[in-house]
């Protein structure tokens, strides 16, 4: 089988800490993969490994059938949308929501070129899809946490990515905003048929469309596969070191 993402024997370390220890993982095109594990398990590192923001110490990564290296990483990144954990934005930042969403097009447009009519149309379309059209002209720093997260999603979608990396997109949001973001992600997945990798440590926040899962603990993959196989009481309890019921099974089932 040809995998969209193939990670083989990858190790990542930050100074004294080994964040990922010789992990191997294959992800097929169009799947919705949840990466679950406690804090410090290496979930965010796994995401940054895929878009090349993390530094690989050993091992290999193939994306879209291409071996990731310094020469082609920028080309590959153009096809990978990335929504990081909530980023701190200065409320006085002189940049509008529209400009932030357009930032997602920068790589695609390329150097020495200005955004064209097509790019502006894509931004309008994405803003409407995500429901932030009324916020387009507002300064980015004036938005609430939930609104900023929607802008972050819109920016990632403006890239027209093949893979979407979501790093705890509902963290620090109130329950209503969490639901809105989860509904939006489900809607995007159904409409765009992207490969989505969704990082969370809160099982209750997993979208219903989630098909596969990876359990991480201490930089190691405990298990991976379909959620029915992965989200068992035994495995989750092993990962979190206390008895955890698999709530997602109910959602999916």
């Amino acid at each position: 089988m040809k995998w969209e993402i193939a990670i083989k024997n990858a190790t990542v370390s930050y100074r004294e800490n080994i964040a990922l220890k010789n992990i191997s993982l294959n992800i097929k095109q169009g799947s919705f993969v949840a990466v679950v594990g406690p804090n410090g398990a290496g979930k965010t590192t796994l995401l940054t490994l895929i878009n090349g923001l993390g530094r690989l110490q050993s091992g290999t990564i193939d994306i879209f059938g291409m071996r990731v290296n310094k020469k082609n990483i920028n080309r590959i990144r153009k096809d990978i949308g990335y929504v990081p954990q909530h980023i701190l934005i200065d409320p006085r930042m002189p940049i509008s929501v529209y400009d932030v969403v357009m930032l997602g097009r920068c790589g695609r447009i390329g150097l020495f070129r200005n955004p064209g009519k097509d790019d502006h149309n894509i931004i309008d379309e994405v803003c409407e899809h995500v429901g932030i059209t009324h916020l387009k002209n507002k300064p980015i720093g004036h938005l609430s946490g939930g609104e900023q997260q929607k802008v972050s999603l819109a920016r990632a979608l403006a890239q027209r990515p093949k893979i979407l990396l979501l790093d705890e997109p509902t963290a620090n949001l109130d329950p209503r905003a969490q639901n809105e973001i989860i509904d939006l992600i489900e809607c995007i997945y159904k409409k765009e048929s992207l490969t989505i990798i969704f990082v969370t440590h809160v099982l209750g926040q997993l979208p219903k469309v989630c098909s596969d899962a990876v359990l991480l603990k201490n930089g190691r993959i405990i298990t991976s596969g379909s959620i029915h196989m992965v989200f068992t009481k035994e495995l989750l309890s092993e990962v979190y070191d206390f008895a955890v019921e698999p709530p997602c099974m109910k959602m999916v089932g």
């Binding site: 990144r77 002189p94 357009m102 980015i140």
Partner: protein, 276 residues
């Protein structure tokens, strides 16, 4: 006043004011948005160290000053990234190194150090046509870079990691921005002086930052404030017969103070109980 405009040194000072104000206005936006205001001080001392060693080794002090500045500015980014530091820490390290080198040179040097000290104080009224051309050159480079890489620069100013994630060659562009900041400071040092440069790259963009939520408007306001600071400073310096550099700094600080008072970003909406 009009008769004084006939003097060439005044004409050169006016042109330098416009060019220096514009270049520092643009570069200042990057400096303020990236929060690295001390790049000016570090570069002025790098130039000072270079000039001292130029005088010691009988090499053109300006050339050595430029060499030291460019070498220092090209190290800021890589030191910050390799050491996983904030660029300000990297600037602090460079500053301490060049200051140490400057003191070493001063200890070894006998005789007057006026030529080297000019890089710290500068004097806009004694600049040559050659200096003006140098200033014109760097101003054009800065404007061209801004126009060519506007969207990439905006992305980097917003968030470096996100800029990299979208497929932009962020690291190379970030180093280029730092290099351009350092180069602009370097080329302005002999003309305006290190202390004045520091105020010109911080005060006008900080004033502009107070007044707008639009980056394009911030660039324009910063350029206008930079040029106004220099021209008004020169005018008041002539009117009251006081040092031009000091007055330019005071004018730019006043512009910042006025912007702060009228800043929409400081406005607080009042809640009216009757409407509730």
């Amino acid at each position: 006043m009009p008769e004084i405009l006939q003097y060439h040194f005044v004409q050169r000072a006016l042109i330098a004011s416009v060019l220096g104000g514009a270049a520092c206005g643009i570069v200042g936006v990057w400096v303020v948005m990236m929060r690295i205001p001390f790049v000016g001080v570090a570069m002025s001392h790098a130039a000072f160290a270079g000039a001292i060693f130029g005088l010691l080794l009988h090499i053109n002090p300006l050339l050595m000053a430029i060499f030291f500045c460019l070498a220092s500015t090209s190290l800021i980014g890589p030191i910050a990234d390799r050491g996983d530091f904030d660029p300000n820490i990297s600037i602090g390290i460079i500053f301490s190194i060049v200051l140490g080198i400057a003191f070493l040179g001063m200890g070894l040097m006998h005789g007057p150090k006026t030529e080297a000290l000019n890089f710290i104080w500068g004097n806009i009224l004694i600049i040559s046509s050659h200096d003006v051309f140098l200033l014109l050159f760097i101003t054009i480079i800065v404007i061209v870079c801004l126009l060519l890489f506007y969207k990439e620069i905006q992305a980097i100013l917003f968030n470096r990691e996100l800029a990299r994630a979208t497929g932009i060659s962020e690291t190379a562009l970030f180093y280029c921005l730092l290099f351009l900041c350092g180069t602009t400071v370097t080329f302005n040092l002999n003309i305006i002086g290190g202390l004045l440069i520091f105020s010109l790259i911080v005060n006008p963009p900080s004033a502009a930052f107070q007044l707008t939520y639009n980056l394009r408007t911030m660039y324009v306001l910063s350029i206008v404030f930079g040029i106004c600071s220099c021209l008004l400073g020169l005018f008041f310096s002539y009117m009251f017969d006081v040092p031009s550099g000091a007055v330019i700094i005071i004018v730019s600080s006043l512009i910042f103070g006025i912007s702060l008072i009228f800043s929409p970003k400081r406005r607080v909406k009042k809640y009216e109980v009757s409407k509730a």
